[in-house]
């Protein structure tokens, strides 16, 4: 099934629709948020076909939302959002993905870039040393069985008792760093075995830790509340639930192959395997997914602790240097139970976001008091070497995309092509000439993540801004990147 531009209806400059008439199995339409150029990118691979596949799942309401950073994934496209009615609808491990609660955390510093320049090389090396990254790198925080289960239930709250977190960190984390209802007993021993030695690690692939400078501020008041100062440093951490989440998804995608037959569910793609939300299988996955999500919150918290330690080691002797303050921590691979106005009716739904973040508007009770008048921060990392963005969700967005936004730049070039056409060592040299300190464990891995392999993140952000999904607060420019 190849989708052509003429199959789409243009609603306005930034919204396109694939109607249910496109395919007899579609239960809801697909809305694509993209300008013309980004749409052309999406038509190049199977992103939109995968979006149509998602729209064929049973129990969905509203529409499937496709973000402007969409790219082909497996099952659900990366940058896809779907909402299944609760309790009559379904829950799908494949539509959440293997890296459950992969997400981004941003920390703000009051250290000015100009002051920091002589220390940046040392800072990059210190972060690389203190924040384990790369294939097979173990964690620096060994866990007992009891402690592992505690993390599954408590998420980032676990870190507070350990001295790895502040109260403000938790308040400025999605779900305050802990999803209620997690049950570690629903995760296999194999999942725990994979995850037990990995807490406080970045991993490899597109995960990274980055030091940025706040390059431009678009909303002065919001930036002030968030602690972002023009010309000062910030830190981004991008990682997820590591092997624990990967194995939970692997286990449930395998087990649900039987569930779809037992429940008579017809699938357009076996990776979109699902079970009725209120079935024993569906509830078991939800409890296990929450355990992995909590592990991921704790993982980013541990890395934030290491980042703070690194800043202290490098800048600690300077007078008046304040610790890094959390801006926000946000998930972009997760299923959440939320209430939305859908076609005039208030419905409880299970919103699956894969490569998409939550982006609620002002007034949302799940935000800390200082953010409630502003809306929820949306953290949009660019590719290595390009700018990143801090946005705020809007109230209007809640009816556009179930309160969701883009999660990054989105790939356009395959990893294979990137490795063929880009040399990691030359890329590092080029980025360092541009003033970006690079610490990477693998040169082929670096090549795969080259800026050329990604869309223009500012174009993506312009689209979500113009579409009314989120508005701009600040733009960040990278000055040091740590990758596995």
């Amino acid at each position: 099934m190849k989708i052509r531009k003429q199959d789409l209806q243009r609603i306005d400059d930034y919204v396109w629709v694939i109607p249910t008439s496109f395919h007899p199995e579609m239960n809801v339409p697909v809305w694509i948020f993209a300008d013309e150029e980004l749409l052309e990118d999406a038509l190049e691979d199977l992103s939109l076909t995968q979006g149509v596949n998602v729209a064929c799942l049973p129990g969905l309401v509203g529409h499937v939302a496709i973000m402007p950073d969409v790219h082909q994934g497996y099952g659900m496209p990366i940058g896809g959002v779907m909402a299944a009615k609760v309790p009559e609808g379904i829950i799908s491990p494949g539509a959440v993905g293997y890296d459950i609660n992969c997400g981004v955390r941003v920390l703000a510093s009051s250290i000015e870039y100009q002051t920091a320049i002589p220390y940046l090389n040392d800072l990059a090396s210190t972060l690389y040393r203190n924040c384990p990254s790369g294939v097979g790198k173990g964690g620096s925080l060994p866990l007992s069985v009891e402690e592992f289960d505690h993390i599954c239930r408590q998420g980032a709250r676990w870190a507070l008792g350990k001295g790895y977190a502040t109260q403000e960190d938790l308040e400025r984390t999605e779900e305050f760093g802990c999803l209620e209802g997690a049950d570690p007993a629903k995760a296999s021993q194999r999942a725990k075995q994979r995850g037990k030695g990995q807490l406080g690690t970045l991993g490899a692939g597109n995960h990274f830790l980055e030091v940025d400078v706040v390059d431009e501020v678009f909303d002065t008041e919001a930036a002030r509340v968030m602690g972002l100062e023009l010309g000062c440093l910030a830190v981004q951490i991008h990682c997820g639930s590591r092997g624990f989440g990967h194995q939970i998804c692997t286990d449930y995608v395998h087990d649900f192959q039987w569930a779809v037959i037992n429940y008579g569910i017809k699938l357009p793609d076996r990776e979109l395997v699902c079970a009725p939300f209120d079935s024993p299988e569906g509830q078991a996955y939800l409890a296990a997914m929450k355990a992995a999500a909590n592990y991921a919150f704790a993982n980013r918290q541990a890395l934030a602790y290491h980042a703070r330690r690194s800043f202290q080691e490098v800048f600690g002797s300077q007078p008046g240097v304040q610790p890094l303050r959390q801006v926000y921590d946000i998930a972009h691979n997760m299923a959440k139970i939320e209430t939305h106005q859908i076609e005039g009716e208030e419905l409880t739904v299970c919103v699956h976001r894969k490569g998409a973040t939550r982006a609620f508007g002002a007034g949302f009770a799940g935000l800390p008091a200082e953010y409630r008048p502003l809306g929820q921060p949306v953290l949009v990392p660019g590719s290595m070497g390009t700018e990143s963005w801090i946005l705020l969700g809007t109230k209007a967005n809640e009816e556009l995309s179930f309160g969701s936004s883009c999660h990054g730049a989105g790939r356009v070039m395959s990893r294979r092509q990137a490795k063929r056409t880009i040399r990691g060592d030359r890329l590092r040299e080029k980025l360092e000439q541009e003033g970006i300190n690079i610490r990477a464990g693998s040169m082929p891995g670096l090549a795969e993540e080259a800026p050329q392999a990604y869309k223009n993140v500012s174009r993506v952000v312009e689209t979500v801004s113009k579409a009314g999904i989120a508005h701009k607060v600040a733009r960040l420019r990278p000055i040091a990147v740590v990758k596995g």
């Binding site: 691979d45 992103s47 790219h71 082909q72 994934g73 497996y74 099952g75 990366i78 494949g94 993905g97 293997y98 890296d99 294939v135 097979g136 194999r190 075995q193 994979r194 991993g203 490899a204 692939g205 092997g243 990967h246 194995q247 998804c249 692997t250 995608v253 395998h254 192959q257 039987w258 037959i261 793609d269 076996r270 990776e271 395997v273 790939r411 356009v412 070039m413 395959s414 990893r415 294979r416 092509q417 693998s442 082929p444 891995g445 596995g484």
Partner: protein, 152 residues
Amino acid sequence: MILKDTNFKIIPSSESAQAKSFEEIEHTADWAYRVRGENLAQLLIQATLGLYSLVGMQLTPGSQTTRSIQLKGIDRESLLVAWLNELLYFHESEGLGFEQIKIQYLDETSIEAKVTGAPTQQWLKDIKAVTYHNLAICETESGLEVTLVLDV
């Protein structure tokens, strides 16, 4: 039953004398590779070889370790994915890779095997999982063919 008590040697190297029946194919975000085999056992072995080659696996010379694997799938596709994910699990949990596979029993929904290998000396790429994306083992004139998508 498809197979009983058959040994295979896995040599994940470009210099391998073993016939190479897999190839990496383009995928925007993840990794994908196509595998061919005369039958299900060969497909499984070639998929193993492909996986280990893609990650650049090299084993530590010296003492060998053997593990038993028993898996069930709902069909041959899910059995293949379960097999490859089992190999990923052994790497991530114990740091092991395997170079000999003794299939003791194989049919379309179950496998019993003994795998022998060693700690990995080199493993260049984290693979989160082998997925079911558009998964279908196709019959061809020369046997079976499948395309596997890996989440990296």
